[in-house]
């Protein structure tokens, strides 16, 4: 789960990381009222979860009240990559001598938190990693040992700063307390009087930790679309795509491969929908209903490899969904495994094609949809 910048800033403040003075506002009235205590120049920043808000015009520097009003009005009406801007941060612009980069990530290969620090801040760290890797230092942190002074000294020597202890420990505190996948300060500014200040904040929290993380438990997740929200309530992994062939599979790898095959044969997958292991009739009914309701979806390819999932259960869910929704879109089913014969017979009775292998099934759905 990605946090808004303002949420991440709140965490930073709680953990003693200095940030430039800021306020959060949800409408223009709040912008004017709350920013009265700030001194110009100010920065107005759209609060969205998608990346690239700067390039999209979602960040503006303003020098007086009029500029502030017009910039804030404009940004609050924006949609950035389809995401409506519901709020803005107004922050004091900081005099910057140099911009640095500091983050803690979960390093998959080292299976540990990894501190990344760079003398090149304010830019995409991936670009720095490609163009000049010597400007990045990476230090593995043993989760049972934490950030020790020798690590702080190493980072300070590399960045040529002297006062990063509190910030680094604060960031590690956020990272561990809120079970983050990423806690990032980019840029970390050095002011003319050599103070270090975080002027942006990015935090990704591990979704699987939310159950015990009361702070974010009931947080709304605007990343999700209408159908994504419904799918989430049913416990499905569901991701929307731009195409027109609906996809249902059991297991993430198999479902991805189902999408890949549709694309391979010239079709466009409309979604990823993994019903998980051991799905019964009701689960299949819910999954198929979500796809059948969507007008953009012209047909559905269901790919089930039944181990603990029983093919007859799957078949009865499919049949019920079609009857209830009264929708006649082409449906192609590939199913093998437990109770395969029974499942196939049930589907054949209602006129649905079934296949043993997914290549032929993928070809079939593509030809049904596009008359290829």
């Amino acid at each position: 789960m990605k946090l808004y910048e303002y949420e991440a800033r709140q965490l930073f403040t709680e953990f003693g990381i200095p940030v430039n003075k800021w306020i959060l506002a949800r409408d223009i009235r709040e912008v004017i009222e709350k920013s009265s205590g700030l001194s110009f120049p100010l920065v107005v920043k759209a609060q969205v979860l998608v990346g690239g808000r700067g390039k999209a015009g979602g960040v503006k520097i303003v020098r007086d009240k009029d500029e502030l009003k017009s910039a804030a009005e404009k940004i609050l009406q924006m949609r950035i990559k389809d995401e409506p801007v519901d709020s803005v941060i107004v922050a004091e612009a900081v005099d910057i001598k140099k911009e640095l980069y500091l983050s803690i990530i979960l390093d998959k290969s080292q299976r540990a938190p990894l501190i990344l620090a760079s003398t090149e801040g304010g830019v995409d760290i991936e670009e720095v990693a490609k163009s000049d890797p010597s400007k990045i230092i990476r230090i593995r942190v043993d989760p049972f040992v934490g950030v020790r002074d020798y690590i702080v000294r190493k980072i300070e020597n590399f960045l040529k700063v002297r006062n990063i202890n509190k910030i680094l420990n604060g960031l590690y505190g956020v990272f561990t307390k809120y079970e983050c996948e990423l806690a990032e300060i980019n840029p970390l500014a050095i002011t003319p009087d050599d103070q270090l200040i975080a002027i942006d904040a990015k935090v990704l929290v591990d979704d699987s930790s939310i159950f015990r993380n009361t702070r974010f438990k009931d947080r709304k997740t605007p990343e999700f679309s209408y159908y994504e929200e419904i799918a989430r309530k049913f416990g499905f992994s569901y991701v929307e795509q731009e195409g027109d062939i609906g996809i249902i599979g059991n297991g993430a790898g198999l479902t991805m491969t189902t999408m890949d095959l549709v694309q391979y044969f010239g079709g466009k997958p409309a979604n990823f929908l993994d019903i998980g292991g051991g799905a019964n009739s009701e689960i299949m009914y819910n999954a198929l209903s979500i796809l059948l309701e969507q007008e953009r979806i012209k047909g559905v390819f269901i790919n089930i490899l039944g181990g603990i999932t029983r093919c007859d259960e799957v078949a009865s869910g499919i049949i019920k969904a079609i009857k209830d929704k009264g929708i006649t879109k082409p449906i192609v089913v590939r199913m093998i495994g437990t109770n395969e014969e029974l499942g196939k017979r049930m589907l054949k009775e209602v006129g649905i094609d079934t296949f043993d292998d997914m290549e032929n099934a993928a070809k079939q759905i593509v030809s049904l949809i596009y008359n290829k």
Binding site: L106, T255, D260, D357
Partner: protein, 292 residues
């Protein structure tokens, strides 16, 4: 032969009285796995499909000191505790089936296991199967027959799919390992491949990767530098996946340009590893390599 587990593996099931634990205990027993005991706190004295249940791991080991592996089915919030208990009791191989384990829990117990010389497979994995009779996992019994092909996979059902293709293509399996779909997992492709290199039964390895992370890329680098190697056939899921979206598995996300299927496929090809476009090509590629 095969890797990690064989008919000498004596198994403990943690979370044996739960729905998943009980169902798969039955399946594993039917496959021929030697399960000696189960653990569920508070359920001492019960039995599940004839397997005695204990309150904790050390009690089970007092009665069955020959236990040398554990498989964990407990719900995600309790996985860390179960893993520490098994490690502290001296078990050296732990398979974690449970999904949605908090990553920071995995991070810690995986490091702890390494200090203690314990191998962890998973979390969020289908387990390990060495045909014909040893399975610490949840894969369908009928698809895994003995042969000389090793499988290493980040996926569950896609592993079964490949096993099904091999079966249809009259190829058998030495050992199949599902290493798990989480961002942080106990054991990676390189470590598994190394074990297959040492295994006399295995003549080639199928690697089933997917988008996210750089485990496939690292294997490709490692492979291209090796002098004595066994051939690999690779398959990558997620060629049609968009950037920035998690495709079911917590680890399956293309983020900041890293982890795309295209990058993985390119790396494999550069290393001289053939990559199947479709699952049905895997047995054909294997046969052409093995006949050389």
């Amino acid at each position: 032969m095969g890797i990690l587990v064989d008919s000498n593996t004596k198994v403990l099931v943690q979370g044996i009285t739960g729905k998943q634990g009980s169902f798969h205990t039955k399946q594993m027993l039917e496959y021929g796995t030697k399960i000696l005991a189960g653990v569920t706190p508070g359920k001492k004295g019960e039995n599940v499909h004839g397997i005695p249940v204990f309150d904790n791991v050390s009690e089970a080991l007092e009665v069955f000191p020959e236990i040398n592996a554990s498989i964990i089915f407990v719900p995600a919030p309790f996985v860390a505790d179960a893993v520490y208990e098994a490690i502290d009791a001296g078990i050296k191989l732990i398979v974690i089936i449970s999904e949605r384990v908090p990553i920071h829990d995995s991070l810690k117990f995986i490091n702890y296991a390494r200090y203690k010389g314990c191998t962890i497979i998973g979390p969020n994995c289908p387990g390990i199967v060495t045909p014909p009779n040893t399975k610490l996992g949840i894969m369908p019994n009928n698809l895994f027959k003995t042969g000389n092909i090793g499988i290493i996979s980040r996926s569950g059902t896609l592993t079964y799919e490949v096993a099904f293709r091999l079966l249809k293509g009259s190829l058998g399996i030495s050992t199949a390992v599902g290493i798990g779909g989480d961002p942080i997992i106990g054991t990676d492709f390189i470590e598994m491949y190394d074990l297959f290199l040492k295994d006399k039964l295995t003549s080639a390895v199928v690697v089933i990767g997917e988008i996210g992370g750089d485990m496939e890329e690292r294997l490709a680098d490692y492979y291209s530098k090796l002098k004595n190697k066994k051939p690999i056939v690779a398959f990558i899921a997620g060629k049609s996946a968009p950037e920035g979206k998690r495709m079911g598995h917590a680890g399956a996300i293309i983020s900041m340009g890293i982890g795309s299927a295209a990058s993985k496929i390119e790396k494999f090809k550069e290393a001289g590893i053939p990559v199947a476009d479709r699952p049905d090509e895997i047995p054909l590629l294997l046969k052409s390599i093995l006949s050389r």
